[in-house]
Amino acid sequence: GAGVSQTPSNKVTEKGKYVELRCDPISGHTALYWYRQSLGQGPEFLIYFQGTGAADDSGLPNDRFFAVRPEGSVSTLKIQRTERGDSAVYLCASSLGQGTDTQYFGPGTRLTVL
């Protein structure tokens, strides 16, 4: 079956612009996660959805970052007034439920802020 997909695969934007990154999880997975990975580092948690609601957004770095999952499937990560420090690979993962369920990752979106 299809895995987690993310679009776009690459996004180049200018400082101060708004961007949206999309994640399409594995069908039937109720839990969805966003992570951010900087070069040479492991991914860092941003936000977790269980169904339509954000169950844990403690990893979002500031209020320029926001994510939605209105129908409990596709999720969009939104970044306002982008800064050069936001440049990273943004990874999405989904799992069947929560807790110890295995998370399956998408290929990521590489965001570059000039």
Binding site: Y33, G42, T102
Partner: protein, 108 residues
């Protein structure tokens, strides 16, 4: 604070030269220890989950083991296609906590 430390940062092996990657962790309540493989430009790929000390899992040339404070990923007779970054991950509440990874290069 939950933390994962992996060593070495990078490892170069000749094809067929077995070795081990180390992961030490501190966590208030372990909800699984995971190993993922990540190839350049791709997302992490799930390998193993371990839940309790003494548990072992195997897949092809890889074997993962778990103690109360460490996990090891043993690679037996590696091949060039095993070259990747291997990520040790602990399951926290609502999230995964990743180590920085070990970059493995296997040369023919």
């Amino acid at each position: 604070e939950d933390q994962v430390t992996q060593s070495p940062e990078a490892l170069r092996l000749q094809e067929g030269e077995s070795s081990s990657l180390n992961c030490s962790y501190t966590v208030s309540g372990l909800r699984g220890l995971f190993w993922y493989r990540q190839d350049p430009g791709k997302g992490p790929e799930f390998l193993f989950t371990l839940y309790s000390a003494g548990e072992e899992k195997e897949k092809e040339r890889l074997k993962a083991t778990l103690t109360k404070k460490e996990s090891f990923l043993h690679i037996t007779a590696p091949k060039p296609e095993d070259s990747a970054t291997y990520l040790c991950v602990i399951g926290g509440y609502n999230k995964l906590i990743f180590g920085a990874g070990t970059r493995l290069a296997v040369h023919p």
